[in-house]
Symmetry: C2
Subunit: 74 residues, 2 copies
């Protein structure tokens, strides 16, 4: 049997926001997306584009990998 790994992406946006003490709406404004976009990304409903990931990393002064993490699972 040949196995292809499945990956799920997790994120710690809530934590990052908490550290900087900004709301979803404020983050949305900073990276120029809708508040719902932040909300749904944060709750893992969908995977953002790399542009958004890079913008967020800039806002929080961290590397992309410190916010988004690939984990094994389906």
């Amino acid at each position: 049997m040949l196995w292809r790994k499945e990956w799920v992406m997790k994120n710690n946006l809530r934590v990052q926001r908490a550290i900087k003490n900004i709301t979803q709406a404020e983050l949305a404004d900073l990276i120029q997306v809708s508040r719902q976009t932040i909300n749904t990304i944060e709750s893992g409903k969908y995977v953002p584009s790399t542009v958004l990931a890079l913008k967020m990393a800039r806002v929080f002064n961290v590397r992309v990998e410190e916010i988004f993490d690939l984990e094994e699972g389906d």
Copy 2:
């Protein structure tokens, strides 16, 4: 006048591939996308998802920011 910055994302996938000496097809296979997906990302036709960016970073053993870079411009 209030200015909202426009960003374009560049990538150096060709270079990263060259360093590892792998083809577009091989990279596609490694991260489980179609060869065309690699080709069009590489040529800047569209922006990949964060999952793909993370997978590529893993393949090349670099940070996402070392492959993808936000630059000012429209």
